[in-house]
Symmetry: C2
């Protein structure tokens, strides 16, 4: 069975030595002393490794079942869910008013990574609930908040998000689900929704579905979409559960992975629904949560990559196969461990430098969410809005590739389900697709976010990178050469790509959009380069300060040097592709394919 | 259900207009007139689409079962196997003396791609038989050939290859399976072999296992390995089947994909085995087949990519979602088809330019196998030996990535097994692993093949690329700019990488091996660049000659231009990684991971 160790020490390093969160003026951050966050992360790590991780393969193997209209989760899920609930984890960053602990989002992310890494399919049950509760928190009436939030924050009731229909995923303006107003102010919801994660199950007393639907006679397309609360069981005036609402699970989808999560086809037949937010403003209500939801999916990319990586390392140390080309390293054994081989190293270093860089990127992004929500910092809000498609698209594309690399270290054993390595790739695959497929992220980045507020946020990003270089240059020649110069070169590639879009995208927007996925990846590499430069700096400072755990910081520096030397050169390739423009991309007529 | 159309026209273009096979002096090639090969490919395409393809998802869903010691293949497999057998397909390129048709290997490859694309798991049953028969053909005594080949070439008996044991895959010197000589000249084979594709099943009367084992008292390690023929049923003097031999299937592995193929754990308990070739020369016997086997796996990479691509194109044309940024292209419909979106195009062009380039590469490589076998062309043998790890590693790595891209075009529907797109990625995944994991291919390329015969073959490759450029330059400015110049630049990157290895690998071999996977990919891109330049040239000549099907050739040129502009820039990135050397790769001690 695979192993998993929660990356507590690494998260602590990022929070306290790189982001230095307690020095931030964001409300709530001054409480986040190292001992305190350490204790939370230790506890979350314990639940991850002892409770969630042992159920990961069980969930994959058993999957969810639908029998006589009842959906059952895999054996052990319900008890684990109760344990999570008892520990108060689902409400970690939710308002105290409704029973949460109101911890900053950055802590929620650090904890969420561990939960997701140990069991992604399981973590989606409370993850989706968190998303639905956030929507009610942002757009609900006081009465709605009082009715739903206390139960949802404890996960006594769970939540779902219902967007997709069989003929429309990205283009929600095409949706057909209807919401007909009734005399009592509620609506009758009718239609079929598909791909509903955690759509039905046996782990909570009630399920609160948030459903996008169109009110007949409203505006055409996306402007006529509204959001509704549709509980599985209606709620009586006294808060107790009433009659079953008209929503049924018709089918559980057979998927490539995340089998432990019940991905349902939900059928609404005149179900009672309550408007959430304003009529025809359903998409706006969804959008307010989108940054967080997308960052959460980016986190899944990291989480599966890290879990897979840990197993690849373990296997590479234990599996004896072949001899080091530079001389036997295990002369008394029948062969050397895999880890002596340079190409295995290359693969492990790809994985290690990605996961640690990604973790920093994710926590940095999460800290900007906090600054935006808790301190109304508009610059932080703008920057994280720009970076959100990068976090989602880059971390899930690359995270998936890393699970494939980790699986490859196992050779034939990685292809056998017993090793658990196939599950990591199959589970990681979904993150490239849901919450906006990565092509849509690239479109959002290039088509919308780059030019947002007159391009102010991307300019701020470039200024930040430049400022970082200027401030830290000239103190240590090796650091300049290994970190600052590669970062500068990569950032120049990113600027050149942006310039290309500006100069050519106006004449023909296809010149920008044909390079959108390359731009997203180019941007992602620069962000991880920046993270590694910041981590390298923090590590150097710790070493100069006489840190006792020198090996930890030396390892950080070496891993950072790897990223800068071996991964950042991808930026030039992405730039070359971008600068080749749309002509070769759009040359063929559809029937020439 | 997925679709599949056999790429007959494209294969014909490569065989006759690019490789111009009938002009070759290789014995047998002059018979390969276009009408003749066209008829073969049409027929193979028909069986692929009508018989094998409909069973592809069945095989994935049902898998193979082991009950009371009997292995059963999925419903319909046996009837399809009989049909293939009746058509004489398994013996297509086998000697006439044993019942084959002795067609060139290049035709076997073109046909094999279609079979594999329509049903990889199924095609492995006769594919492995082909490999085992080739080994007997190359190393068997006349009596062995007479006993086994006629039955194996018709697939009345199928074959397997038994190398791996649970503790050794790549490093076969560690193997424990024993072969004890008996008085009658046969051996008693004892041991457990794992990952045996087509290891047991219900589609043939007998199964001829080729088993690597050690004769006690022989040399240590890999030099003490011999190869044995171990039939499932012993064969009586009159050729009829006798008693059951002591080999049993203990388990069918649960795998990520190729569920339709029975991957068995085989247990040999004093089984009767017959030495094939010389004692302790088992690895040499395996090696003679390795080039072909690896080219066959490279073919699988292409085949899954092409099948997945065809479905992605179909979906992109049919699925209506969003609007073209340059104006509605389906104004009367609710939305435009996906194919209008630049990033979808980019993905489809990545796939298309890969599959067509890969097909040319594969058929070119196969033609060199023919030149080597049929005309004793040592240069061809040396060059294809150099390129074999590139064909295997590059085409399966990239082929896998392309199935992932094709799946991505489907959005959420691609993650649902019903669409069939997950199966393409899961089936394609194995080709990166078996027949030598791709890291081992990279090691073979850089550690062995580059320097083979004093580096003669890689020099010949460079000379060929240079000669191609010189011969064809200056006739058409656009062709020079779009094809020859990018090819030259990419080839220079490859030369620079080779030079780096020469200058640094001697001091420290890790400097070469740390860049081996990058080198393999760099080499692969240059090969596909060369293929596209050759195809582009052929297309231009056809257009200048007034070809009636101008659209076909225009499409070729446009697709080639895409590859040169958008894919070849990867060579510079691989070179940068290679030139960063081994220092960052090998910096950490094992316990720092």
């Amino acid at each position: 069975m695979p192993i998993y160790t929660a990356p507590t020490k690494d998260a602590q390093f990022i929070l306290h030595e790189v982001l230095k969160i307690t020095e931030s003026s964001v409300p709530g951050y001054s409480d986040l002393e190292s001992d305190f966050t350490g204790a939370i992360l230790e506890e979350a790590g314990k639940i991850s490794t002892e409770v969630l991780h042992p159920l990961n393969m069980v969930g994959d193997t058993e999957g969810c079942t639908l029998e006589n209209g009842v959906v059952r989760t895999p054996k052990g899920f319900k008890a684990a869910f109760d344990q999570l609930r008892t520990g108060g984890w689902p409400g970690l960053d939710m308002p105290e008013q409704y029973g949460g602990q109101y911890m900053p989002y950055v802590i929620g992310t650090a904890v969420g990574e561990m939960f997701s890494a140990s069991n992604q399919a399981f973590t989606m049950y409370h993850g989706l609930t968190h998303g639905a509760a956030s929507a009610i928190l942002a757009h609900g009436t006081d009465a709605q908040k009082d009715t739903y939030l206390p139960k949802m924050i404890t996960c006594d009731w769970t939540g779902t998000m219902n967007l997709t229909e069989s003929h429309c995923g990205t283009d929600l303006g095409l949706m057909r689900t209807k919401a007909v107003p009734t005399d009592d102010g509620s609506y009758k919801i009718s239609g079929e929704k598909i791909f509903i994660s955690s759509g039905d199950h046996d782990m909570s007393d009630n399920i609160i579905h948030l459903v996008l639907a169109k009110i007949p006679g409203g505006p055409e397309g996306i402007r006529g979409v509204s959001l509704f609360i549709v509980p599985k069981f209606l709620i009586n005036e006294d808060g107790s559960l009433g009659a079953r609402n008209g929503v049924t699970c018709d089918n559980i989808e057979e998927k490539m992975g995340i089998h432990g999560n019940s991905t349902c086809v939900l059928n609404y037949e005149g179900s009672v629904g309550y408007l959430l937010g304003a009529e025809n403003k359903g998409m706006r209500a969804m959008f307010t949560m989108m940054n967080e939801a997308r960052i959460g999916v980016g986190m899944q990319g990291l989480s599966q990559a890290d879990a897979a990586y840990q197993n690849a390392v373990e296997y590479a140390k234990e599996r004896l196969q072949g001899r080091a080309v530079t001389g036997d390293e295990n002369p008394d054994g029948p062969a050397d461990p895999l880890i002596v081989h340079p190409d295995i190293r290359r693969s492990l270093m790809d994985q290690k430098s990605f996961t640690e860089g990604a973790r920093a990127f994710l926590l940095w992004g999460s800290s900007m969410i906090d600054a935006s929500h808790r301190a109304d910092d508009e610059d932080a809000e703008g920057l994280v809005s720009l970076l959100t498609p990068v976090i989602k698209g880059f971390l899930t594309d690359q995270g998936y590739d890393m699970t494939v690399q980790a699986q490859q270290v196992f050779g034939g054993h990685g292809y056998i389900e017993e090793s658990g390595m196939s599950q990591y790739t199959r589970d990681a695959r979904i993150a490239m697709i849901y919450e906006g497929a990565n092509g849509v992220q690239a479109l959002d980045l290039v088509g919308r976010k780059l030019g947002q507020d007159g391009g102010k946020h991307v300019m701020a990003f470039f200024a930040m990178v430049m400022e970082f270089g200027k401030t830290n240059k000239g103190k240590d020649e090796a650091f300049d050469r290994d970190f600052l110069e590669p970062l500068k070169a990569a950032s120049k590639d990113l600027q050149a790509a942006g310039m290309y879009f500006m100069q050519n995208g106006v004449k023909n927007p296809n010149h920008a959009l044909a390079g959108s996925s390359d731009f997203l990846h180019l941007f992602g590499h620069v962000c991880l380069g920046l993270m590694w430069a910041r981590m390298g700096l923090a590590a150097r400072e710790a070493l100069e300060g006489g840190a006792t755990d020198a090996a930890f910081y030396e390892t950080k520096l070496a891993t950072g040097r790897y990223y800068m030397a071996r991964r950042l050169p991808a930026t030039a390739m992405h730039l070359a592709r971008i600068e080749s423009g749309a002509d070769t991309v759009m040359a063929l007529d559809a029937d020439q394919f």
